[in-house]
């Protein structure tokens, strides 16, 4: 929550996806990562880095660049110095999903607005991936939220 609070303070444009977004939508489980989709524009990435620097004192944060995220490296994993979890920073998912495509909604947690992907968006993002857990999640989302099966 410290990271999400820092995102809010710095005005980072992001959408929470993955397991933590599933949790926000009521499907709670333990996870070792937090996945965020971000707008890869330069101003937003500078705000993202400022927010992360507020939480972690780590020079590796300087290596996050808009050029990577908007270019050849749309998926970054940041492991903070304490090593026990990581943050996936995504700018696009294949050719199918970009930040601007994401449907999202806001939940306020202790005064912190948290932007999370909708159940339908999470379903669409997870249903065709190679990871078995993602396909299980997609089916759970489809049943829980009575979503139409999409090809």
């Amino acid at each position: 929550m410290r990271v999400l609070a820092a995102f809010a303070r710095h005005g980072v444009e992001y959408v929470l996806v993955g397991s933590m977004a599933m949790a926000a939508q009521g499907l709670v489980r333990a996870t070792r990562d937090m996945d965020v989709f971000v707008s890869p524009d330069e101003g937003n990435i500078e705000r993202l880095k400022a927010a992360l620097r507020e939480v972690f004192h780590d020079p590796a944060i300087d290596e996050i660049t808009s050029a990577d995220l908007a270019g050849d490296y749309p998926a970054l994993q940041y492991v903070p110095p304490q090593h026990d979890y990581w943050i996936d920073i995504l700018a696009r998912l294949g050719e199918a999903f970009r930040y601007s495509d994401l449907e999202s909604e806001v939940v306020e947690v202790d005064g912190v607005p948290v932007r999370v992907a909708t159940p339908r968006m999470l379903y669409l993002m997870k249903k065709d991936t190679v990871r078995p857990q993602d396909r299980l999640d997609a089916e759970t989302l489809r049943q829980r939220f009575a979503l139409e099966e999409e090809k």
Partner: protein, 69 residues
């Protein structure tokens, strides 16, 4: 609540889902995740790792999860 018996953990039903967008959901997930980290501490290579695709990132993630490298 009566005692319910199962032949394996896999046969146990998952906990009931919580209301979507309940502000407590994320806090519970954070607490649960912190507990999991405490029960089974793992170390991952610190720093920034770049991937050309999410699939590439997932493969690395699976290696981390399997080996705790």
């Amino acid at each position: 609540m009566p005692v319910r018996k199962f032949r394996s953990v896999e046969a146990m039903p998952p906990p009931p889902p919580r209301a979507p967008l309940d502000p407590q959901n994320l806090k519970i997930a954070c607490d649960l995740s912190a507990l999991a980290v405490g029960l089974r501490p793992r170390r991952f290579p610190p720093g920034l790792h770049r991937y050309r695709t999410v699939e590439e990132a997932s493969r690395r993630r699976e290696r981390w999860e399997a080996l705790g490298e």
